[in-house]
């Protein structure tokens, strides 16, 4: 059993810290102009962060004890390809989920 005080301390500081991270630029910079080289880099924030978040889940999935898993890999590629082609999150999610469940059913 974890000490409740420790839980509350973690909830409080994780909440405050996360808020300050989110507030940082949006709150403090406001309508001041950012340098051009800086905003040019910011155009790539999404594609610089999110693929990196995905890759460990694909290469070492917890569910298979860290072994490469064909259904997950193929479903990821399907979700990515369809999402890019249709420029749509909805189609990406649908493609990923149906591919994963179909392959798990066939191979399972």
């Amino acid at each position: 059993m974890t000490d409740p005080l420790k839980i509350w301390i973690i909830i409080f500081f994780l909440g405050v810290g996360t808020y300050l991270i989110r507030f940082s630029f949006l709150g403090l910079v406001g309508d001041r102009k950012l340098p051009k080289w800086f905003t040019q880099h910011l155009n790539y924030v999404g594609v610089a962060v999110m693929p990196g978040l995905i890759i460990p889940f694909l290469v070492w999935p917890d569910a298979t004890g860290g072994a490469l898993d064909a259904p997950r890999l193929i479903a990821a590629i399907a979700a990515f390809g369809i999402g890019m082609w249709r420029r749509s999150a909805l189609w990406s999610v649908i493609a990923g989920i149906t591919t994963l469940y179909t392959l798990m059913y066939i191979l399972g």
Binding site: I11, G27, L42, A48, A89
Partner: protein, 240 residues
């Protein structure tokens, strides 16, 4: 479906609508968090206050895992906050679009700055450069209005059920598919592809960096790769 994003009222609903696909992801993810948290010894009150106050699923999972491992408080906080540092980049990326909004509104937006609201908004702003400040604000509000209730309710349901969700549902895939669905529509050009490649390669190379800071190193390198590719393409076009 075609809603005109340049009318303010429909900008809100467009933001709302663009986030509906993520119900499929946020709902199981929230349930999973609720279930895991109560299993880890959280009361329902603690689970709900955490989920409503932090609103950042992956860092909440990180904190839970480390708590169960018996890690010291400071290490738990440093590691979980490092997971959220990417949001400083989202915050900066939104400045050119939302920076002129009043401070109170920006303070509110900061609370709701999650992966989905950032990604769907920035995509809409880039696709519709004629959007006004008010329309951009309304779109952002629509995006989080769509997802926050689902996140809270599903966490609560998960905390109540508490039972383990069967592995056949492959819920471990909810997180990667979420980020795939968010990033696939962002692949607009070769520089974006280069950034994505460097992001993936860099994360794998720096995977054992302390406090999960590998992602941040990889992201910085990826942004540089994107800009360098963009500049290189420009120079090449100028020389032709």
């Amino acid at each position: 479906m075609n809603i005109n994003p340049t009318s303010s009222k429909s900008a809100f609903w467009l933001g709302y609508r663009d986030n509906i696909p993520f119900w499929l992801i946020v709902a199981p993810f929230g349930m999973l968090f609720g279930a895991v948290a109560t299993e880890a010894g959280f009361t329902i009150i603690q689970t709900m206050i955490m989920t409503a106050f932090v609103v950042a699923g992956s860092s909440q999972f990180t904190a839970l895992t480390l708590l169960q491992d018996g890690a010291p408080t400071l290490i738990i906080l440093a590691t979980s906050l490092a997971v959220n540092l990417r949001m400083a980049m989202y915050s900066a990326a939104l400045v050119p679009h939302l920076g002129r909004a009043p401070l109170g509104m920006r303070a509110l937006f900061a609370y709701f700055l999650v992966d989905q609201s950032y990604a769907t908004s920035i995509n809409a702003y880039t696709d519709n450069p004629e959007m006004t400040l008010i329309q951009k604000c309304r779109y952002f509000m629509g995006s989080f209005t769509c997802l926050l209730p689902v996140w809270l309710v599903s966490t609560y349901v998960g905390a109540l059920i508490g039972a383990k969700i069967p592995p056949e549902y492959a819920l471990d895939f909810a997180v990667p598919i979420c980020f795939i669905a968010l990033s696939a529509p962002m692949m607009r050009s070769l520089p974006h592809f280069m950034a994505a490649l460097v992001s993936m390669g860099g994360t794998l190379i720096f995977i054992s960096a302390p406090y999960s800071t590998g992602l941040l190193i990889a992201a910085l390198l990826a942004m540089i790769a994107g800009v360098q590719t963009e500049n290189w393409l420009k120079r090449r076009a100028d020389n032709d």
